[in-house]
Structure formats: structure tokens, C-alpha cells
């Protein structure tokens, strides 16, 4: 009986996860409606957002690895998977934190998880466009493949516009306010990076100071 209940709950959780993941396709075509319901109607989930983020990492790596060398100048020996992932993850997390900090001060309605979900759901077009591009690049010649670069641009522009709409809908902002929020989030990201660097340099200076004091003491009393 208990086992049955457990499987039932698991199934419910799975269904909820699957629905929220499928919901990203709805968001892809109905951004205003989609992003509103994403948070206000609880149609999205953190698990689905994480999945989309991981898929974005994979898409990026697949593209680097499997795109035909005709269009891809990647020097394989120089690629580090972790730094590739960090290259996406670090700005994304910084943006989420900065955007949340900013919008909380300027009566944004979204919580941090909402901002994170909005961000990750906005990455769907990148995943859905770049994977076919990777496959197609192995079929086309250099001349035919000239338009592949445009697809990459379309994917990025699409994702960016969707991020903008997600900010509008999640925080209940006007377009202008959303643009300002994103612009100042970027400034906020820089400030965070600056503070982190300042913190670490001060800490390392402090450590160096105490180490040298210690050395001096050992030298004097030896």
C-alpha cells in the first residue's frame, strides 16, 4: 500500500516535471502569456529550469565538438569543459542575483527563483536552434553553410528578447522599465565582480600580513 502511494507520488512529481518542461515549448511561442503563467500560475519548475540550463551547456559543448570544421575554428586541445560551463553559468548566476537585488528595490514582483526560471526558460530557442545547426553543418558545404551563422545570431537575439519579456512579466514591469532593469543588472553584475575581487585581494593581503608577522616573530625569537 505504502509502496503504491510512493510510486503514485513519484509519478505525480514526474508528471509535474514533464509538464513544466514541455511548458518551455509553449513559452517559446507565447512569451507574454507564457512567462506570466510560468510564475503566477506555477506552470514552471526549478527542476525543468535546471534541465534547460544543463541542455544549454550540452548544446554549447556539442556545437564545439560536432560542428563541421568548415564553420568551427575551435582548437580542441585548448577547450576546457569546466571553463566552458563556467562561461555560461557565472554570468547567468551573477545576472540572477543582480537582477533580483535590483528589482526587489524597485517593486519587482518576482522572487529569485522566478528570475532564475525566467532566465532558463528563455534559453530554449538557443537549444532548439543550435542543435539542428550543429547537425546541418556536417551536411553542407562551405558556400551553402553561409547562412548557419545567421541562425546562431537569430538564436541569441531570440533568447535575449525572451529574457527581456521574462523580466517584464515576472516583475510586472513596462517595457522601458524592463530594459532599464536589465541595463542596471549588468552594472550590478560588474559591481558584484568588483566586490568579489576586492574581497579576495583584501583577504589575501591580510593573510600575507599575518604570515609575514609570524615569520618575523619566528625570526626574532629563534
Amino acid at each position: 500500500m505504502s509502496l503504491n502511494l510512493k510510486t503514485k507520488i513519484n509519478k505525480q512529481a514526474w508528471n509535474r516535471y514533464w509538464d513544466s518542461l514541455k511548458y518551455s515549448l509553449y513559452v517559446l511561442t507565447h512569451p507574454f502569456d507564457g512567462f506570466w503563467d510560468l510564475t503566477h500560475e506555477k506552470r514552471g519548475s526549478i527542476a525543468a529550469a535546471n534541465t534547460l540550463l544543463i541542455l544549454t551547456f550540452m548544446t554549447n559543448l556539442w556545437n564545439l565538438r560536432f560542428e563541421s570544421f568548415l564553420f568551427n575554428d575551435t582548437r580542441w586541445e585548448r577547450i576546457n569543459i569546466w571553463s566552458q560551463i563556467a562561461g555560461i553559468l557565472a554570468p547567468l548566476l551573477l545576472y540572477v542575483v543582480a537582477n533580483w537585488c535590483l528589482t526587489t528595490l524597485f517593486d519587482g514582483k518576482g522572487r529569485m527563483t522566478d528570475v532564475y526560471m525566467g532566465m532558463c526558460y528563455s534559453l530554449t530557442p538557443y537549444i532548439l536552434i543550435m542543435n539542428p545547426v550543429t547537425i546541418l553543418s556536417n551536411v553542407l558545404t562551405k558556400e551553402e553553410g553561409a547562412f548557419l551563422a545567421y541562425f546562431e545570431i537569430i538564436a541569441l537575439v531570440w533568447a535575449f528578447v525572451w529574457i527581456l519579456i521574462s523580466v517584464m512579466q515576472i516583475h510586472d514591469y513596462s517595457l522601458l522599465k524592463a530594459i532599464m532593469a536589465i541595463a542596471f543588472s549588468v552594472v550590478g553584475m560588474m559591481i558584484i565582480v568588483f566586490l568579489i575581487m576586492l574581497f579576495f585581494s583584501l583577504v589575501s593581503d591580510a593573510i600575507a600580513f599575518f604570515v609575514s608577522v609570524g615569520k618575523e616573530l619566528i625570526f626574532r625569537f629563534n
Binding site: F69, L70, T141
Partner: protein, 505 residues
């Protein structure tokens, strides 16, 4: 205390042993010269020697006064003409096999002129008759002498509005084409190459290089005062530093005046090939424009990119340039691919302190070093010969023979880019697309790969047309099937729910 001393003693012994031990470095210096080429990523790979230094000859060994600041050299048939600027003479040396003998030292000539001696001559050109054309810079003139040193004509500063009246006429370099037209580079004349008719009449400049002005410079100039502006470097065209005329009367010119930023952007053209109208027709199909080194470190007083001082072109249209910064010789083929590079800075045989002139006799290269005042002869090795015969076969259309040579090159140097591409091209012509693609891919030659891939794809589709159609049809059917299955399942469920509802009732 005792322990400390013991440790110190032990350390000393260990260090003495380490320093006394012979290391591998000593034996590694036995290699006379090295050759390298660059791969797609701009990394250099060592390769077997394409040229080996054969002999080193200075003035003392020739039994004459040592060369002093020799500035140039010219080779016609078996004779080397060394322009010994510091001693104001031109030395003719005859080469027979391995021996070099001085034929004559030219310091004066006969004829109707006020000054019958040379004063710091800069360059000499010898035509097929043996006539000498000398840029006699110290006397501000160009001389045309017969083989027997009889003056034919002398040319001073041309009376032309194209030239700045204040500058003295100081000719540097000269070449003469088959029709007897003279092409001259003069000091402080930066409008290109001066062209003189066979009778000595100045026609004008050809091959003036375009003035490159950056946006930043323009803005800077806009916002500076007149005093500041006068201090700034004027926007002047680059000045050539050397000339070479090939069998087909094309003029190769080199310059060492360019900004490093232009080189990085690929817009600097340190080597040019001029046609009769002065247009630059050098082919630059290589991974990078012909400019010497692609990558360099600043060390030991050798800073910045290669600065090319001289050029010589062989009959097969490969050309060789000498770099004065690092004493290297770079060889390029007709298409502008770097074939190999060798030489370097140093005192040993095959290395240079300051190479100033490069010439060829047959396939041998002769390089004049102005600091040591010596001529080094390089002879082509088997590896070098293979490369050149492969290029020659390709240029006359024997692609398979060319590929056979490239195969041998590859056996000696597995990193040789042009060999892979050459073999790939031959395979492409034999319609062996799959293998051709492999060869192109190894060297990341995207254009040739693309071409091979296009044919391969076409063949593949033609051979597998049946499968292609089946796959397309199946792909078209799948959504329809899924739709149908869903519909059936939905109907079954509705039926079931309807029935169970009725049962409950």
C-alpha cells in the same frame, strides 16, 4: 652546529656533481641549420633541412681586403658581384664548383666623366651582355658601364617636378629589364620605384604604395595644435628597401617599414610583385600574407616582426627573402605559401649576424652578411628538391606525379602541410573523394574539403537514393501514425469511461 656543516658539505658535493655531469645540450648543438613551417594554427614545426650551408667565404679567404659594410650582391651566370660599399669597389667573383676566385676589383672606369672612380656604391645590376649598372651613391649618380668598364652613360638627378628640388639624388638599388629600362630606388624618394628609359630619361614613379591613415590619427591631427602637428610623423607612403627583377620582368620589391598592427590585421605588404603598370600582383593564398615570421618573442635585442631586406626569385617562381632581425631565410611558393624557413642569428656556419643580400645561382642560395663581410653558400637538400619538384609538376599539370613527390616529402616530414593538400588535390582529381577529404581535413583546408565533400555527398545520395526516399517517407509518416494511435487510444478510453458510467448507473 656540526650537523649543519655536514649538510652544507653534502650539498656542495651534490652541486659539484650536477655541474660536472655532461648534459644533452652539448651534443644537440651539432645540427647546423633548422627548417620549419607553420601549421594552420600558426605553430611552427621543425622539419628536415631544405637547405644546408656548404661554405663560408670572406674577403680574407678570397685574398683581397676584407669586405667593409658590403651592401649588395648580384649574380649573373657563374659570377658574383659583391658591392663593397665601405671600400668603394665592386668585386667580381667567379664560382667554379666549390671554389671561388676573384676575377677583378672594380674601383674605376674609363670614359668621358669628371669622376672616374666609385664612391660608396650601393648596388649593381649586370645584364645579359655583361653591362654593369651601378648606383654610385657617393657621387649622386647612376652609371652604365660596358663589360670592359667603358662608360656608356651616367645619370644624375633627373630634372623633374616629381622630385623634391632640395633632396640630393642618392640612388640605392637598381634593376634593369630586358628592354634596358632601369628601375631605381633612391634615398628619401618614397613615391615608389623610379623608372628610367634605356636612354636615361626619367619617366616617373611606379608601384607607389598607398598611404595608410588610421581613423585615430585623423582625429588626433584634428585636435592638436600646429606645433604638435609638426612633431607628428607625416603620413607618407612606405619606402621600399630592395628590388629584384625576375625572368619575366616582374619586379619584386620589399619594404621593412610597416606598423606591427597592420601586420596583425593582414594589411601590411612587406613583399610586393609589380607588373609593368606598377600594380601589386603577388598572390597571397597562404594562411598568412608572406611576411616572414608569424610568431615571435622579443628577446636578446631582437624585437618585433621580421624586417625583410632582400629578395630573390627562382625560375619556378618560388622566392626567398632574408630577415635582418633574426637572420632567417624564408621561402615561398608562387601561391604565397611558406615552404620552409631556415637560418638564424649567430656566428656559426648557416647563421647570420646581419644578412643584407640574398641571390641564387641555379638552386644554390648565396647570402651576404654585412657584419661579417662573408658570403654563405647554401645548397638544396633532397628534401628541398622533392618539395620543388612536386611544385613544378603541379604547375605544369602533372598532378599525379606531383602527388608522388609529395608522398616522399611526407615520408620525410609528416607535418608538411602542402604535401597533404597536394596529395588531397590529386586524389580529388582521381575522384577518390573520401580519402581526399581526409587529407584536407588533417590540414583544415576548408575550401578543398568543401569541394571534395560536395562530390562525395552527390555520389552518396545517388548510390543510396532508395534508402533516402524510404527514410523521407517514414519521417513524413511518423507524425500521422502517432496522431492516429493517439486518436484510437482516446476513443477507447472514452468508450471505457462511457461504459463504466453506464455500469454505475
Amino acid at each position: 652546529m656540526k650537523l649543519k656543516r655536514k649538510i652544507a658539505a653534502a650539498l656542495l658535493v651534490v652541486m659539484a656533481v650536477i655541474t660536472a655531469c655532461p648534459t644533452g645540450v652539448a651534443s644537440a648543438t651539432e645540427v647546423n641549420t633548422y627548417t620549419y613551417n607553420y601549421d594552420y594554427w600558426g605553430l611552427e614545426y621543425e622539419s628536415p633541412d631544405a637547405y644546408q650551408p656548404m661554405s663560408y667565404t670572406d674577403g680574407k679567404m678570397l685574398g683581397i681586403t676584407p669586405f667593409k659594410q658590403a651592401q649588395s650582391m648580384y649574380i649573373r651566370n657563374n659570377s658574383i658581384y659583391v658591392v663593397d660599399t665601405g671600400n668603394s669597389r665592386i668585386v667580381e667573383i667567379l664560382v667554379e664548383g666549390d671554389t671561388m676566385t676573384v676575377v677583378r676589383e672594380i674601383t674605376e672606369f674609363t670614359g668621358d666623366s669628371e669622376v672616374l672612380t666609385l664612391a660608396s656604391p650601393q648596388d649593381v645590376y649586370v645584364d645579359t651582355n655583361g653591362d654593369l649598372y651601378i648606383t654610385d651613391q657617393g657621387n649622386y649618380r647612376i652609371l652604365h658601364l660596358t663589360k670592359d668598364l667603358q662608360l656608356v652613360k651616367e645619370m644624375g638627378k633627373p630634372d623633374s617636378t616629381l622630385l623634391d628640388a632640395e633632396n640630393p639624388f642618392e640612388p640605392k638599388k637598381i634593376v634593369v629589364d630586358r628592354a634596358g629600362r632601369m628601375f631605381v630606388l633612391a634615398k628619401n624618394e618614397n613615391q615608389g620605384v623610379m623608372q628610367f628609359e634605356p636612354d636615361g630619361e626619367f619617366v616617373g614613379f611606379i608601384g607607389a604604395s598607398e598611404v595608410t591613415v588610421s581613423l585615430v590619427d585623423i582625429i588626433k591631427k584634428k585636435f592638436s595644435t600646429k606645433a604638435q602637428r609638426d612633431q607628428m610623423v607625416d603620413f607618407v607612403p612606405t619606402e621600399y628597401n630592395n628590388l629584384y627583377i625576375d625572368q619575366k620582368s616582374f619586379i619584386y620589391c620589399t619594404t621593412d617599414v610597416f606598423a606591427e598592427a597592420d601586420l596583425d590585421a593582414g594589411s601590411a605588404k612587406p613583399i610586393r610583385k609589380l607588373n609593368s603598370l606598377g600594380g601589386d600582383i603577388l598572390i597571397r593564398n597562404g594562411g598568412w600574407v608572406p611576411c616572414g615570421d608569424w610568431q615571435w618573442d622579443d628577446a636578446a635585442g631582437m624585437n618585433g616582426p621580421s624586417r625583410i631586406v632582400d629578395i630573390t626569385a627562382m625560375e619556378d617562381e618560388t622566392y626567398y627573402v632574408a630577415d635582418r632581425i633574426r637572420g632567417r631565410i624564408f621561402a615561398y611558393d608562387e601561391q604565397g605559401h611558406l615552404l620552409y624557413a631556415f637560418g638564424g642569428p649567430g656566428n656559426k656556419l648557416g647563421y647570420f649576424m646581419y644578412p643584407i643580400a640574398i641571390e641564387h645561382m641555379g638552386t644554390d642560395l648565396y647570402i651576404l652578411d654585412t657584419t661579417t663581410g662573408a658570403i654563405t653558400r647554401f645548397a638544396r637538400t633532397e628534401f628541398g628538391n622533392l618539395i620543388h619538384s612536386a611544385l613544378d609538376e603541379y604547375s605544369v599539370g602533372n598532378y599525379d606525379a606531383s602527388a608522388a613527390h609529395w608522398e616522399k616529402v611526407l615520408a620525410m616530414n609528416g607535418n608538411y602541410e602542402l604535401a597533404y593538400i597536394g596529395i588531397g588535390r590529386a586524389l580529388l582529381r582521381q575522384q577518390n573523394y573520401e580519402e581526399a577529404m581526409e587529407y584536407f581535413k588533417v590540414m583544415r583546408d576548408d575550401e578543398n574539403y568543401s569541394r571534395a565533400w560536395k562530390y562525395y555527398r552527390k555520389d552518396w545520395i545517388e548510390n543510396n537514393l532508395g534508402y533516402v526516399i524510404v527514410v523521407l517517407v517514414v519521417l513524413g509518416l511518423i507524425p500521422a501514425i502517432i496522431k492516429k494511435v493517439k486518436k484510437i487510444r482516446w476513443e477507447a478510453r472514452m468508450q471505457y469511461e462511457f461504459e463504466s458510467e453506464n455500469k454505475n448507473k
